[in-house]
């Protein structure tokens, strides 16, 4: 078993929370994990990515080779496309379609979504809208994780447990919001994949 995942987004959008949850679920499931993060200057509103590798045997490189990633999980649509050279043929592209616009030359969003839809294996959803409808706009990243969850070879219940563990300190309400967001994302994929 091997899942090589590229997480993509903009600094501050919560991709490290996604990585933390998948990572701790994977450790619980007795898998080997490597997770390369971006810290420092790029976190100031720039593009950020994380390489997350799960395997049932020891992992060599912290970086996923180009063309070998099993999936890209993106909380921002244009950022999902930035890492296409990493994705293997037939790999899954799971992306939010709600843009984060902090640059003057952001391309028309229809053209970005059209590029995502060129992929046979894609899941594109408005995670911000779904999270807002749940009353928890900050949980958009968990909606995305939920949408990706059917492709990750970790039991769903382990992901739920990891959310309870990671958000536990913030209280039951936050945990439940995030669990609901995860569930909504997962439902979307089950209906649309």
């Amino acid at each position: 078993m091997k899942n090589d995942i590229i997480l993509a987004g903009v600094g501050g959008q919560g991709i490290l929370s996604i990585a933390t949850i998948i990572g701790s679920a994977a450790v619980k499931a007795d898998l080997f994990v490597k997770q390369a993060e971006v810290h420092g200057m790029s976190q100031r509103g720039g593009d950020v990515q994380s390489h997350l590798r799960l395997s049932n045997r020891e992992i060599a490189s912290d970086l996923i080779p180009f063309g070998k990633a099993d999936m890209i999980i993106a909380v921002e649509p244009m950022e999902s496309l930035r890492y296409l050279p990493m994705l293997k043929p037939g790999g899954w592209l799971i992306s939010n379609i709600n843009p984060f616009i902090n640059i003057p030359n952001y391309p028309p969003i229809e053209t970005v979504i059209a590029e995502i839809e060129k992929f046979d294996c894609h899941i594109a959803l408005d995670a911000d809208k779904i999270a807002t409808e749940l009353g928890s706009p900050r949980s958009a990243n968990m909606v995305i994780l939920g949408a990706a969850s059917p492709f990750i070879d970790i039991p769903y219940s382990e992901l739920q447990d990891a959310i309870r563990a990671v958000f536990g300190r913030k209280g039951e309400e936050v945990v439940n919001m995030n669990l609901a967001a995860l569930e909504k994302g997962r439902e979307f994929t089950e209906l649309n994949k």
Binding site: F32, K34, Q35, G40, M41, A60, L63, P65, G67, P107
Partner: protein, 537 residues
């Protein structure tokens, strides 16, 4: 023992706690910051009464560590690669004084310059100082090598360098702990002149350092950190340094490389193992992240004898970080790549946060400078360096910590008047004060803008040594009180701030303007945490 998922940085920190350090010293700098932050946050470290201090700069951090080593206790000092330039004076001399308590200097390099001005390789410094270097390839090795490094340091009575790169520093993986060791008791050097580098003593100590070099090379051969894998295909031998070993292994599905491999994680170079490879293989491929340090050592100037492949002959790009694909190409294996990035995807450079005080300071400065020709603003290292980018385009230099003020003075000496220096509060106390003194002594007509956001922002909001002290420091150094101007960088005060900038820029002497407003990020965190008041530490 307990298994943790740790960043490379955190593995080093946990290793240091478990190996019995009594203190850790650092100035924040990507990618080294999380080492000291981890010790700061560790309950265990607090219980053990481990001193965890942010120093004013890397030099004072190194010197504090040296003092702790003098007193017989184990200590670690951490910095990014360019921080070692600041600490270079005590670092080089610490090789001559030697250590008493175990001393590890962690230098975190940043090949590909993810968050730095250059990609200098700290192994040159280790070699320059003639001390052992440890270069772990993964998080577990980083943890284990901290334990070994302290033993090595105390065995040879020398500081030991641990060199890591961004990728290891900021990547997480499983780490198994070993039982922790008690801290050393206080004990001074048996020779109380060991740390007195008067020429006569230094000459003797330097000879001792030279004498240690062969035993250190033998240690590299025997320690078990440098592993020779004797595989059958002798067309090529491979030397894989530190993390490069992982990229090599990634290219072989079954983890079996057909060629002999030397996994190199300890320096000085293990001579016997390298000679074995050179005598048995037709050529040697050197894989190292950073600069061609080992390759140059093997190759020499005339490049005679066995063919050495690496960054110098183009087998591997001369600059930038390694990855599995670069290594695949160097091995003659096929490269892989997914689809190209669609043309519509544009760059998303980092930018100042919404609501950042620097933005208001720069818009006021830009307006005040409209009357003058462009290219007069010398700046420094920090979030405010982002003021170089559109739409602000407010600054014209960023070289090293503290360079803004002396560069503005030099330009003013050359006749560029007015010249402006823009520096952050933490950078000012790191390396700006001495430059300001130079300008004060000559009353050079420059305007120094100290952007005070009350924190070390770029590295994630560590406390600033300057907090609450800047006006007093400027006054104490000798800036006239009426030319120390404190203002609040907010849109609603824009007109009066522009007027203050204009007045001081026109003044034909040294003046300091201190726009003061807390970093929006640390403010946000404090609001969340129930608005704890900041206090001067």
């Amino acid at each position: 023992m307990q298994k943790l998922i740790l960043l490379g940085d955190e593995a080093i920190a946990q290793g240091a706690i478990d190996a019995g350090i009594s203190g850790i010293y650092a100035y924040p700098g990507t990618p080294s910051t999380e080492i000291t932050e981890y010790v700061h946050a560790s309950k265990e470290a607090r219980k053990k009464n481990i001193k965890a201090s942010w120093a004013a700069n890397e030099k004072t951090a190194m010197e504090q560590a040296l003092g702790m080593s003098y007193a017989g206790k184990r200590t670690m000092v951490c910095m990014k690669h360019v921080g070692l330039n600041v600490a270079a004076d005590p670092f080089m001399n610490s090789a001559v004084t030697g250590a008493n308590g175990g001393l590890i200097v962690v230098a975190a390099d940043d090949p590909s310059m993810h968050s730095s001005q250059n990609e200098q390789d700290s192994r040159f410094y280790g070699k320059f100082a003639m001390i052992p270097i440890l270069e772990p390839s993964n998080q577990q090795e980083a943890y284990d090598m901290v334990h070994y490094g302290f033993e090595l340091s105390e065995k040879f009575r020398l500081p030991v360098m641990m060199r890591i790169t961004t990728r290891l520093a900021h990547s997480r993986s499983g780490v198994t702990r070993v039982p922790s060791r008690e801290q050393n008791e206080i004990s001074l050097p048996s020779n109380l002149r060991q740390f007195v580098l008067l020429p006569a003593i230094a000459r003797k100590q330097y000879k001792d350092l030279l004498k240690q070099q062969n035993p250190l090379a033998t240690e590299s051969e025997m320690s078990g950190n440098n592993i020779y894998l004797d595989n059958s295909d002798h067309k090529m031998g491979i030397i894989a340094c530190g993390i490069a070993y992982n990229y090599l292994m990634e290219n072989y599905e079954d983890r079996h490389v057909p060629y002999p491999v030397l996994k190199l994680t300890q320096y000085p170079l293990p001579r016997k193992q390298i000679e074995k490879m050179a005598s048995e293989c037709n050529e040697i491929l050197v894989l190292e992240d950073g600069m061609p340090v080992v390759e140059e050592m093997l190759k020499g100037f005339l490049a005679q004898g066995i063919k050495i492949k690496g960054r110098l002959d183009g087998s591997i790009p001369r600059d930038g970080e390694l990855n599995p694909n670069i290594v695949a190409v160097a091995l003659g294996l096929s490269d892989s790549r997914g689809k190209n990035i669609p043309e519509i995807v544009v760059g998303r450079p980092p930018s100042l946060c919404r609501g950042c005080s620097h933005y208001d300071s720069y818009t006021a400065l830009n307006e005040a400078l409209e009357a003058y020709s462009k290219g007069r603003v010398f700046s420094d290292i920090g979030c405010y360096t982002l003021g170089a980018l559109a739409p602000l385009e407010a600054i014209n230099s960023c070289v090293d910590m503290g360079a803004s003020i002396p560069m503005a003075k030099g330009a003013a000496d050359a006749g560029l008047v007015p010249a402006i220096a823009v520096i952050g509060d933490s950078t000012f106390t790191h390396s700006g004060m001495t430059g300001l003194l130079d300008a004060i002594i000559e009353n050079t007509p420059i305007t120094v803008v100290i952007l005070d956001n009350s924190t070390t922002g770029m590295t994630g909001g560590q406390p600033s040594a300057a907090y609450g002290r800047i006006p007093a420091i400027c006054k104490g150094l000798g800036v006239a009180e009426e030319h120390i101007r404190i203002l609040k960088p907010l849109k609603k005060y824009h007109a009066e701030n522009v007027a203050i900038f204009k007045e001081e820029i026109e003044y034909q002497g040294i003046s300091v303007i201190i726009p003061t407003r807390e970093c929006i990020q640390t403010l946000g965190k404090r609001v969340k945490a129930g608005f704890k008041a900041k206090s001067i530490e």
